[in-house]
Amino acid sequence: MPVPNDPLLDSEYDVTVVGSGAAGGMAAYVLANEGVKVLMVEAGRDYEPTLETPMFNLPSEAPLFAASTPDKEQGFYDATVGGGRNIPGEPYTVAEGSRFSWWRARMLGGRTNHWGRVSLRFGPYDFKGYSRDGLGMDWPISYEDIAPYYDKVEGLIGVFGEAEGIENSPDSPAGLLHKPPKPRAHELWLKLALGRTMNVPVVPAHSAILTRQHGNRPACFYATDCLRGCSIAANFQSTTVLIPPARDTGNLTIRTDAPVYEVTIDANGEANGVKFIDAETGARHRVKARAVMLGASTAESARILLNSKSNLFPDGLANSSGQVGRNMTDTVKVGMIAQVPALEGLTPYNDEGVSLIHSYAPWWGYDAQRAGQLDFMRGCHLEFWGGRLQPGVGDGAMLAGLSGKIGSGLHDDIRRLYGSTVYISVNGEMIPNDGSYCELDPEVKDRWGLPVLRFNWRHDAHDYATASYQKQFLIDAFGAMNATILSDTSSPIEQTIRAGGSVVHEAGACRMGASAGDSVLNANGEAWDVPGLYVVDAGAFTSNPDKNPTLTILALAWRAADHLVDAMKRGER
């Protein structure tokens, strides 16, 4: 069936960017600033944080006092539109015996509107894991290749943090990072306690939040919740930091409510546009371009490729290696809540800070690994959540349970216990295995009749060794600080380890590599098989270190866009 050109989009574009989150937003920003005519095609609706963010709205003004519901799974005010683990009409399936959950957003800016802003550079070891320990596959690039892009990204988006000289957690150039906020009480406690009892150094987090004026963006004013988004643009969202300046160049056109379902190729097998659906009318359209950059998120970009079948590519576009959808990883994570007596009854004070983490602990175990004392080879880091933030319905409920009293004693207990519970999450690296991948479901279709993804998930021995260490670490650490663990620690490690996808750090489904035989993309993020087709989201990751992915998505997207611009300037595209 012939698919018409979109009437609104009849003009010529140089590049079509699919998706508008970290990946798509960054690609469009770089291209538009280089004078390239860009069409961004986004499945979700338009979204304007300066007008839509409920900065100071109180929980008690919201339905169900802002509690989570199937409609808003992270609470009413969370900056996720039309998304979550369940998107009506856009299902996914999970293979028998696998545990997987997929968090998506359907809005301009994608998941960057509400992400946790933790922004850690991958280190030199992270790109060469296989060479160090024989696991997984080396990246075709090294830290030196990406470091200039980390510098550029941090300079553009604004990240706070400090230079600590920590092994494999690279320092940024002097003066680049913003000053981190002081630790809150629970973070100070964990710094003192973990340092003293476990010999784990706790340092300032690296987070994409401004603590000083940054261009025309003001510093954070320390009063509202970043997960609702930021109307003053003091944290990083694609919709406040990337898309507005890209639009201002006059080179970016945005088409929202337009899920892409196919990348098209010309007679030479080169990418020449995309087909998408008008989500309002269901009508199908196509647009032409000289190159396509996919940034629909790891699994969704793989899905688009798998759905782009042709005589040339019967198993999906760019899939001659059979690796599209394979090698998926997420973070190996164990987290626990505990109640800390030392944090009870503190003098009330304003504990809001930047609303997200101020402190974290980068991997402390390289010496132990070198000494052969650990049975896993990759890193973990700690993230801390707690403090005396604006309470939600779950908080009073939990504290009432902890008090165990009724009457005025309950009031007193809740005031004493408020802020004394902490959650530590230990995030570690998952090694790709051949049982963790996504594929097209042979039967289930979405509301437009397109095959949906089926996820297969398995953790291997190394992942379980990592998770067992994480669990024991938390038990030991909380024990050593006289805290009471409130999480259930009795289940076997297979259940304690978080389900695939649930940490929302999915990566690897279109990995880059050194050879076309075992990877989808070359070192520039361009498909081996299809000139002019790039994948710029975490699908490109060859490995998925413990460090959260988004800063690296941004850096790689910038790098890939530079590569494309260079090719265009040379007249090769």
């Binding site: 169900l64 630790p183 100070l188 476990m198 004013f221 809540i337 004070y349 959540w385 009073g396 809740i414």
Partner: protein, 227 residues
């Protein structure tokens, strides 16, 4: 041995109760601790894949949908269906478990009935579960004339319910009451929350808090593996 004391001064029974408290609290919605990565669904609670329950549980038109107006939140998305006599019981019981005094308003004074009437009328699975659990319980207290009993009798009755571990409806009521109460601006202030005030610099914890934490940390001893 079930009541042996752990180093932190808690009995094992208390620890188990606490663990249950956390698990129970999650169903009500995200807590502070669970802000990142899925609100409440963290911490071992199996994360369902594409979940049939979502489909079966709610018709899109019944709830507020995936894209409500966040700047102008409303609390009338669905009709309130809790009966007037049950609302009277709710006020009376909430004021018994979390009594007001000179400095702390009673729950009935800051809208606990309104919260429950919205919550128990909501179309979502968790709230429908609460409705199924609490409606017979409220009806029973209504039939007993709880709201009209004198204060002492109400306290005595609440204490009996509280002591009875099989009284899941009471336990749930208590959690919801505390959850809602401390989410209101009045309750949050009573709890010791200070914030929502834009400022140029964030000062960090006060000196006495820092000194206290340093003193407490100095008492800790390095961890030694028992292996």
């Amino acid at each position: 041995m079930s009541d042996e004391t752990k180093s932190s001064g808690l009995t094992r029974r208390q620890t188990i109760a606490w663990t249950a408290a956390v698990a129970g609290a999650l169903g009500v919605g995200g807590t502070l601790l669970m802000r990142q990565y899925h609100g409440g669904a963290d911490d071992g609670e199996a994360l369902g894949p594409y979940d049939q329950a979502f489909d079966e549980g709610v018709q899109a038109s019944e709830g507020y949908g995936g894209d409500p107006d966040l700047l102008n939140p409303r609390r009338d998305y669905w009709p309130r269906t809790v009966s007037a006599p049950h609302l009277v019981v709710i006020d009376a019981l909430a004021d018994t478990v979390l009594p007001g005094d000179e400095t702390r308003p009673a729950p009935s004074m800051i809208g606990i009935g309104d919260f429950f009437s919205e919550w128990l009328s909501a179309p979502y699975p968790a709230q429908r579960g609460d409705r199924a659990l609490l409606e017979p319980f409220l009806e029973q207290l209504h039939a007993e004339g709880f709201a009209n009993a004198d204060k002492d009798a109400q306290v005595a009755r609440a204490e009996v319910l509280h002591a009875d571990e099989t009284e899941t409806a009471f336990a749930r009521f208590l959690r919801l009451t505390a959850g809602a109460y401390y989410t209101t601006p009045e309750g949050a202030a009573i709890m010791g929350f200070i914030g929502n005030q834009p400022m140029q610099e964030w000062p960090g914890p006060p000196d006495d808090v820092i000194a206290h934490l340093e003193r407490e940390a100095a008492k800790l001893t390095p961890f030694k593996s028992e292996l």
